[in-house]
Amino acid sequence: MTVALRFSNLTLGYDRHPAVHHLDGVVETGDLLAVCGPNGAGKSTLLKAIAGAIQPLGGQVERLACAAQDIAYLPQAAEIDRSFPINVFDLVSMGFWRSAGLFGGLSRKREARIYDAIASVGLTGLEDRPIGTLSGGQTQRMLFARLLLQDAPVILLDEPFTALDSKTTADLLDVVARWHGEKRTVVAVLHDDEIIRRCFPKALLLAREPVAWGRTADVLGPENLLRARRMVEAFDREAHECEVA
């Protein structure tokens, strides 16, 4: 197996406070890896570092599959200005930025791929709709269509299914499965253990420090989950037990 990403003694954080502490390990090419753990465990921070959006406090991330800018990254809270006058087709076409650049035209072939991508996330017919008129689920489908066009060897998803209904989640999981079939490397931050067990062969349980990394069934064992919870409670001052019955 070839290695897509390698973390060596990686420490990430904000204002010198570590959010991810001394992480070592490799993500192999073609891995479908779920990153899970309690809130504040450093999951989103890890994805940002892989995408190159933040610099490590210590250690390093090696991107062996491709440059940081060729990694497709879907952040947790996309900062999309939904009032901007742009339609679904044009927004999805942004996925071609790396190949089209400033002046590259939308050839017939590219146009067909845009329609294909929109169709594979089930938005056919909404191409001309302004993005501000889409629902939350439709917006996420649109962003997945844009990821499809990026044609990236490594894809990072930060809580991609949060606040989505089960139909939308299932449709987008199909897209993820398709990427996995195409031997792309997918790393997704997820909270739903059921989805992780069903769809993700490998998992990394993070609680600031790595708790377990490997086959999902082993990682998500009761002992590991309990340990992760204790580790977070140990450092999260705000995590008092709820007194209200």
């Binding site: 800018q69 006058p85 942004m94 790396r98 650049g101």
Partner: protein
């Protein structure tokens, strides 16, 4: 028929300075409109105003050093504008201070510095020209400058269009796929500065922003499509230039302010009549659809 001719065409047919004014104002309107549309979409409407203030001291210093020289005042204005744009952009990116606050800080420093230098020199400089411009006294060199800046602006916007749209709609996405975000923002601010410097020769620094923002703000009431907004804004700007100059010729009122007032009248009309969020549409909404 000859009455209509006298009213609408004679001022420009008979007088060269009116023709020059018209060409100059049209160049400003054509380039200013798309810049204004992007300023509005990026929620930077007041940035134009702040930049106009930042340019003033640079132009004034140029005037002090070299008199009423096109080159010196243009260079001074551009330098002051770019320094403020780059410094405030850099501070916003590198520190916790947001763009609007850092821009306010730098343009105020620039303005105060300029006024101080001018008063220390003690000369009774006539800054009226810089403050209010004179669209009726555009010479060949100034017209060429306006035309060159307009052409450069349209070419620049064509080149910047994609990253600028992406940076406005989804800055995180652009940052994840390229490093074009920061240079795009800076080059766009550069275009804003260039257009304001061009406009102060004709309209003065105080009104330079008018031909940029008013048509763009009006266009928002007529369409929610960005390319249509640009076309509508340019059309309204051109119409304001022509009508303002014609009205000024017949009434004897100063031409620069009248051009802006006509643009303002178009804005008020659009605010009331515009189909995309105008007042009439808000007060008398159409019935909802079945699906």
């Amino acid at each position: 028929m000859s009455g209509l001719h006298d009213l609408l065409f004679a001022p420009f047919a008979d007088f060269e300075f009116m023709r020059r004014a018209l060409v100059g104002a049209m160049a400003l309107a054509l380039a200013g409109a798309p810049v204004g549309v992007f300023l509005i979409l990026r929620r930077m409407s007041l940035t134009g105003d702040a930049m106009a203030h930042a340019i003033l001291p640079g132009a004034a210093i140029g005037y002090l050093l070299a008199g009423l020289s096109l080159g010196a005042m243009t260079a001074g204005g551009m330098i002051a504008g770019f320094v403020v744009a780059i410094a405030s952009g850099a501070v916003a990116r590198a520190t916790a201070l947001r763009e609007d606050a850092s821009l306010a800080a730098f343009y105020l420093i620039s303005l105060a510095l300029g006024v101080t230098i001018v008063s220390l020199r003690g000369s009774n400089v006539d800054l009226m020209h810089v403050l209010f411009g004179n669209v009726l006294a555009l010479d060949d060199a100034t017209l060429l400058l306006l035309a060159a800046i307009a052409s450069l602006t349209l070419l620049g916007l064509a080149a910047l269009y994609r990253p600028l749209v992406m940076e406005t709609v989804d800055p995180l996405f652009l940052a994840s796929v390229s490093r074009a975000g920061a240079p795009t923002q800076l080059m766009f601010l550069g275009l804003v500065v260039m257009n304001l410097v061009a406009a102060f020769h004709a309209l003065g620094t105080l009104m330079a922003v008018g031909l940029m923002m008013l048509p763009a703000a009006s266009a928002r009431f007529w369409s929610a499509d960005i390319s249509r907004m640009v076309v509508i804004a340019a059309g309204l700007g051109l119409a304001s230039a022509y009508l303002g100059l014609t009205l000024s010729y017949h009434s004897g009122a100063p031409s620069g302010p009248l051009v802006i007032l006509v643009a303002g009248a178009f804005y008020l009309l659009s605010l009331v009549l515009g189909p995309a969020g105008g007042l009439i549409r808000l007060l008398r909404p159409r019935r909802h659809l079945e699906a």
